[in-house]
Amino acid sequence: MSSNPQLSTNGQLQHLLTTEGLPAPILLNILDTAESFVGVTERDVKKVPLLRGKSIFNLFFEPSTRTRTTFEIAAKRLSADVVNLNIAASSQSKGETLLDTVNNLSAMHADMFVVRHAQSGAAHLIARHVRPEIHVINAGDGRHAHPTQGLLDVFTIRRYKPDFRALRVAIVGDILHSRVARSQIHALTTLGVPEVRVIAPKTLLPAKVERLGVHVYHNMAKGLKDVDVLMMLRLQNERMLSARLPSTEEYFKYYGLTQEKLSLARQDAIVLHPGPMNRGVEIDSTVADGGQSVILPQVTFGIAVRMAVMSILAGN
């Protein structure tokens, strides 16, 4: 087995591909650095010159508006030059391979690639083949990982609940297909959260999920009891077509987060959602817009966390 592909030989962060296997100090450093950028994003002049002269390529092999936009904003606030490439619609359809595309862009002197791809492992593949001075950030690969999302979620949690070691966290929904859930789980367990639960019907849970260090629940009432943090996941309509669920209505009834179900958690529990939300499917509007929701702050903090990741990578 080769060494951790995310770390350089001296143990510094070389690429951000997954939250799994990263030492807690590296995760904490990202969160602390992000803290300093929250101030920047609240200023009138929202720019710092840390990445001036650097070129960041957003390689989106899978359509995405939200994630791509937040990466773009983060890069621009660091004064980097940003090039957005929606590759699903260009070279891939001409038969160019993933690595051909990456090699061509490397020749344009990219400093950093932000990669979104429908296949698990795409970012790892790119990281393994780029020149050593290029950094790769995984912006979501298949069902595998979405590390900046996982990090912005733990950043958000820390803002409201500063002590990870005192938390009980529940992740609710389609764990099976979710790269967000995997990145959340690894970030939470690495940072010392003593109890991470996953709540879902059996058709939406991957095999041996408990080996990731989580407790499995199929029942919301039991799973939400005494929970400090609820992390809801988006439910895609394909799950009905693939016979994993009968209907969105039944899903909402048993796994959708309503005010009533939320009341089973701790009184001061917070609710997160990576967006985009399906109101009335995995979450009720009264909860999404309610006092315990931190869904909009997540979006704001997402920019600071991505700035932190980019500036740390550029400095390593």
Partner: protein, 424 residues
């Protein structure tokens, strides 16, 4: 040509021979194992002291990629790889382009292979036309053209009715049907064992159930039709247990396993190593243990290379998109030796899994060194270490999970029909 192989440790699993002695060969046949017959004047003598002399290896599953996929491999490159690995007989799979479903194609392939004067090629004919799982092929005609048995390669056969009828028809003529059990619906879209690693890496899973459900169908149909069934490349402990039970009931079922699965598990995928994208998938460590136990108690008769050369570009893709398969012709022997060493298995027992046992499955009168037998031999140095490097492999494909690893056991001579066809 008269050939003498002197002073080697002759291991002939079928005849129970394990002794340091000589093998004398004349006109493509074994003349004597033991003292060189009086008056025998060899054209060539091979000094084999310190080497193992055994029957040539028989491989039950090799993709030669011709016709149609010459950019992955050619008959020439793969036959050279086979003899470099000590393989003197091999079964090639019908998943070429066009598919081996017409007698003319089979005759052409056999003819071309024969002209290379290397290993003997035994084509597996397609069970259904175009491997589409709908119409039966002309099995009797294909048999006359040289097919040794019939199978679907890795292509699905979703209709249980077609499967049952294919087995009935094949059994009419006494042909055996080769099947790799996998339920097409349960395995749909999957690329890795449904376990901890697929969960961590977010890879679409293939459950053990996809193997056992299909096995259950095949076993029931074998009982009903009386067809001889050979099960290819079993991957799970539970599947092995089902086969053990079926054989205890006396069903005419044989079984093989791919050599990679004796050694590797899902863990070896590491960080998306596409060389570990195999069909069937590498499963859990407990499955590997179950497979190893099945080999030892005879539930699994033979070990095959499951040779699948893939061009480099097709592996330089995200795991799920990368083409499945690994080369194995040149690794079969050292990997079987490695297994024997690790598990303390006597050499003759281990070698039987790649010589006499696969020959029995094929009903071949070869892979033994009786007087008068075909002089197909493999002579190897069991001690020599070598590193699996792309430049070392004769196969056009360089895709193997063992790339860069050091293995023990190097073929020094391969003899086919009494002629030395490879010297290492």
């Amino acid at each position: 040509m008269k050939l003498v192989i002197k002073n080697g440790r002759v291991v002939d699993p079928k005849n129970g021979v394990d002794a340091v002695t000589s093998v004398s060969i004349d006109a493509g046949k074994v003349v004597a194992v033991g003292p060189i017959p009086v008056g025998f004047r060899a054209d060539r003598e091979v000094e084999a002291s310190g080497l193992i002399v055994c029957p040539g290896l028989v491989d039950l599953s090799a993709r030669l990629r011709e016709p149609g996929f010459e950019y992955k491999a050619t008959l020439e490159s793969e036959m050279a790889a086979a003899v470099a690995g000590g393989i003197t007989s091999l079964v090639c799979l019908p998943d070429t382009d066009p598919v081996l479903d017409e007698p003319g194609l089979v005759e052409m392939l056999k003819h071309r292979a024969r002209n290379l004067h290397q290993a003997r090629v035994y084509p597996l004919g397609a069970l259904t036309r175009g491997l589409k799982g709908e119409w039966l092929t002309e099995m009797a005609e294909l048999r006359d053209a040289g097919c040794i048995a019939f199978g679907q390669s890795d292509m699905p056969l979703p209709s249980t009715r077609v499967l049952m009828q294919a087995m009935q028809y094949a059994s009419t003529f006494g042909f055996s049907v080769w099947l790799r059990p996998q339920d097409v619906h349960l395995a749909d879209g999957g690329v890795a064992h449904d376990g901890e690693i697929a969960t961590r890496l977010g890879l679409p899973p293939i459950s053990v159930c996809s193997e056992t459900v299909a096995l259950s169908n095949i076993i029931l149909m074998a009982r009903e039709t009386g067809a001889r069934v050979h099960l290819c490349r079993i991957s799970s402990a539970e599947g092995t247990a089902m086969i053990r039970a079926a054989r205890r009931q006396g069903l005419p079922i044989t079984c093989d396993i791919a050599v990679n699965h004796i050694h590797l598990s899902e863990m070896d995928i590491g960080y998306f190593d596409s060389n570990c994208h195999l069909v069937p998938p590498l499963r859990a460590l407990s499955d590997r243990e179950g497979l190893r136990a099945g080999l030892l108690d005879g539930t699994i008769d033979a070990i095959c290379s499951d040779h699948a050369p893939v061009d480099e570009d097709a592996k330089l893709l995200p795991f799920a998109e990368a083409e499945a398969g690994a080369v194995g012709l040149e690794l079969l022997l050292p990997l079987v030796l490695k297994w024997a060493t690790e598990m303390n298995i006597p050499l003759p027992t281990a070698l039987a899994k790649i010589t006499s046992e696969p020959a029995r499955i094929l009903s071949l009168n070869s892979a033994h060194l009786s007087t008068g037998a075909l002089a197909d031999l493999c002579i190897f140095d069991p001690e020599q270490y070598w590193t699996v490097a792309a430049s070392e492999l004769k196969s056009q494909g360089k895709n193997t999970p063992f790339l860069g690893m050091e293995l023990q056991g190097k073929v020094k001579y391969t003899v086919v029909d009494g002629n030395i066809v490879h010297e290492g």
